[in-house]
Amino acid sequence: MDFSFFQDSGWATFIGRFHPILVHLPIGFLLIAALLEVGRRMGRIQVNESTISFVLFWAAVGATFSCIAGYLLSLSGGYDEALLSDHKWQGIGVAAFAWIAWLVKSDFIGERIPFGPLFYLPAFALATVLTLTAGHHGGSLTHGDDYLTQYTPEPFRTLAGMEPLNTKKGEIQPIADIQQAVVYQDIVQPILEARCTQCHNASKKKGDLRMDEYAMLVKGGENGPIMVAGKGGESDMIKRCLLPESDDNHMPPKGKPQLTTEQITLLSWWIDQGAPADKKVAELTVSDPVKPLLAALQSGGAAAAGSVAEASAIDGLEVKAGDPQAIAKLTQAGLIVRTISAGQNLLEVSAVNVPSFNDQQMALLMPLADQVAWLKLGRTSLSDKGVAQISKLKNLNKLHLEYTGITDAGLAGIKALPKLEYINLVGTKVSDQGIKSAVEMKRLRSLYVWQTEVTDSVIKLLAKEHPQVVINNGMSEESIAAFVTAGDSIYSKLDQKKAQ
């Protein structure tokens, strides 16, 4: 049959797209007819044979129209040939056997076919089985062949000999060191997998294009290569993404999850750089607009220098609940004790209302040595002697000692705390010597030393050696004055302009 007129006029595709809707009719009809037949034969239900015959007739009609629509859809191309062929013949089989099953039972024709009734059950059974296989193949054509079983849970996964589940498939995993990331493998491929390969893969190559492998991506599709190495902006792949969504040539097709501007910029940058297969970020030239995008891919997406978002040292830590009597004693002394979050039993203790809190009172904290994670003893009467006791709070995570009597000696005493991430030493007598030992702490990330004896030159030095620690020395009186005048000057410029 010649469908060329049909195809050219767009009617073919229009009707073809009804295929996924139509197919559900014969599937449902056939299965209900089969159920009725089984139920009738087992004597469970009272049903007239003509009822089943009636349902079968509509199943056959539905299957026939599905076949026609399916054929028209297949003309638009882009499907895996082998899978498509299986699906097609199974579908035609469904229609054919459904008609046979109906014919042999029908009042007019059935009696004229010799041995007709003998064909009924085999034809019916075949049509039913083929419905299931054709349906499954159809699903594989549309969604990709691992769609159904992609999220098989354990233990069935291991039993079926499948690979462990990668739940984050299709998302860009946070990258520990962006400079060392292989651009194609770590950045480009995850974007393509999230947005493109659903239709451009080994089994469903729309436009004869596969984007699931590097070699195939370079090869291109039915219109030739989709990338112009070194020229992202001229590459078909990028151009199509930038077309308005309503444009027929826009990719991904309207209604599908779209690429973000950032993702397009990253892909385009990679092509600009010659679309290399195995080059790392550090080996390529990073343009200004791309910098923040790459920085955002780094774990936590922090762009500012030094601020590395990582799991906290007390994540997942669980201790037993603190002794209520010990907590009551602290509360009586005027301290505030709070549970930080449900499930962990870690405590936050604050002496904000007890400026008289002193070294002797540190003993009150000792029964809760496992539980205290956040401790605020700023602006109290604490000295090095009391600070020494802090070293026993082994799960301590944040420590406020601003405006206390702590010195370098006291600071050295708490060096061994394994989970301490934050120390506030603002307004204390701590000096360069003290912070040199503090930065050695394994988990330390933030150190606040404004209004201490610590010098900027030493901070600069330490920042290089220990980039994971942010040492904040605040603003000096001079830099505050500069801050005030810098903004002011912009305002006065504007004023002058207005006056003119």
Partner: protein, 488 residues
């Protein structure tokens, strides 16, 4: 079900208050049965703890404290942070019909003209954030901020939009964000309220005190408004001739009577009253101390731009830092005067907006810098925004040409920024179309913003509820999704 029964019991006890009154009047009505009907003293003790203590957060908070800076009247995102170069080209061109179809505006009528950005924009920091010359002090802080450029709301009038922003509903009667925070996290300072409100700009916000009210939460959680001139809180200082000891004795006596009454009638509002009396007594000492900026060094006052003896937004920012330093959970700043319609020399997006920025830009930047160097920004969330945005079209009230450049209220796109307490540094979430009319990527509704702020404070907004009138209420009503991508 259990909660329903509890509330029923509470309502029943409310009824009994009347009987109780009658009994005291000498009728002796129901005196016998009353004792068994009323709850035991034990439950009362646990309620006291609840009022003072807050709840245990669902997860570890990254924002232990919040400063919410609300520019009442709604600042223009198109002049400050949402740079739209395309809009320059369309300046003075008639607004396309598609922008107007089916839309309602507060004042725009007929076909308005587009209005190009009035500020000069540049990119700043490693993150390359766009900011205009209206906010020069913020330029250096680009890499500390997370911008949400795709905010949208449901309300285009000030009062309902402010209510929606702060209470999760456009009508009166719901607790504000700060009240929820105080209720959830409790106070971290025994001598100061957990929720303090400071206003500036000459007027109160349109929605009035309801936007820092406690709604159906116990009233102990409502925002305490502090004045920035004279007594910071009215009526907490001792009257002439009354010594502090005498005041103390008085309050102890009143509270003892209140406590006895509570044990008899079980009304939780009595506990609120008791704790408010106690708090007021402690505040007599603590508030004047924390609200006194005269002990701050001159260079710090200069940093904020605080002028002596003048209540101002700058002073409020400095006070906010001091309150946060003293572990007040939630500090809410309102500054009035951002409603740039173009009706007067003050209300426009040219010189008027510029003047508002001059009053606020330096203090906000100073606040961030100051929090940072004191080690407080890490676990303090600072939020800046208005109740809605402003149109890319120039306002044409009554179809006339306005005397000044102005923009109308706009609910489909506005910008909010956050800093500190667990949000990314140097990050932008969401995007508006090329004319800044509508969010085209990652739109964030007011309820999403609220869900995110609660998340940063350690609460799952869907589980953080309060039973009232037979159902559990929450800040985000039935909506809200946490904006995960801005979390550090």
């Amino acid at each position: 079900m259990e909660k329903l029964i509890k509330e029923l019991e509470y309502r029943r006890v409310e009824q009994q208050t009347r009987r109780h009154f009658l009994r005291n009047c000498g009728f002796g009505l129901g005196a016998l049965g009353l004792g068994s009907l009323l709850g035991s003293c034990d439950s009362g003790a646990s309620k006291t703890a609840q009022v003072a203590g807050g709840k245990v957060p669902h997860f570890r908070p990254t924002a232990k404290r919040v400063i919410y800076i609300h520019m009442a009247g709604a600042p223009s995102q198109l002049e400050l942070f949402d740079y739209k170069p395309e809009l320059v080209k369309y300046d003075g061109v008639d607004c396309p019909a598609e922008f107007l179809e089916g839309k309602k505006f507060a004042f725009i009528q007929g076909v308005p003209k587009m209005l190009g950005p009035q500020g000069k924009f540049k990119q700043f920091g490693e993150s390359g954030a766009w900011m205009s010359d209206y906010v020069p002090y913020m330029h250096d802080l680009a890499d500390d901020l997370t911008f949400i450029k795709s905010m949208h709301t449901d309300q285009f009038n000030h009062a309902p939009a402010q209510l929606l922003m702060h209470t999760g509903g456009a009508r009166l009667g719901r607790p504000s964000l700060g009240a929820w925070a105080a209720y959830g996290l409790g106070s971290e300072n025994n001598n100061l309220p957990g929720f303090i409100v400071l206003t500036s700009g000459g007027k109160q916000p349109d929605a009035g005190k309801s936007i820092w009210g406690s709604g159906f939460l116990p009233s102990v959680y409502q925002g305490v408004q502090c004045r920035t001139g004279g007594d910071p809180v009215l009526y907490v200082s001792d009257p002439n001739g009354i010594s502090r000891d005498m005041r103390k004795n008085t309050i102890e006596a009143i509270n003892e009577i209140n406590r006895q009454t509570y044990e008899q009638v079980q009304d939780p509002e009595i506990l609120t009253r008791i704790s408010q009396y106690e708090m007021a007594f402690r505040m007599q000492m603590s508030v004047p101390e924390v609200m006194d900026v005269s002990k701050e060094p001159q260079y710090i006052r200069d940093m904020y731009g605080v002028k002596p003896g003048e209540g101002s937004f700058a002073l409020n920012c400095l006070l906010a830092r001091k309150l946060i330093e003293n572990d007040v959970r939630f500090v809410q700043l309102f500054d009035w005067g951002w409603d740039g319609h173009g009706t007067s020399a003050a209300d426009n997006v040219g010189g008027g907006l510029h003047e508002k920025c001059r009053q606020t830009d330096q203090p906000v930047a100073a606040l961030l810098q100051d929090l940072k160097m004191r080690g407080l920004l890490e676990d303090t969330l600072v939020v800046w925004g208005g109740e809605f945005g402003r149109t890319p079209m120039q306002e044409n009230r009554n179809g006339l040409v306005m005397p000044y450049m102005g923009r109308d209220h706009h609910l489909d796109a506005f910008t909010v920024w956050m800093a500190g307490g667990g949000v990314k540094k140097g990050f932008t979430h969401g995007e508006t179309d090329e004319l800044g009319y509508y969010g085209v990527k990652d739109r964030v509704h007011v309820h999403d913003l609220q869900a995110t702020i609660l998340h940063l404070m350690g609460f799952d907004h869907e589980r953080f509820t309060y039973p009232f009138q037979g159902r559990n209420f929450r800040l985000t009503d039935t909506e809200g999704k946490v904006v995960k991508s801005i979390l550090a």
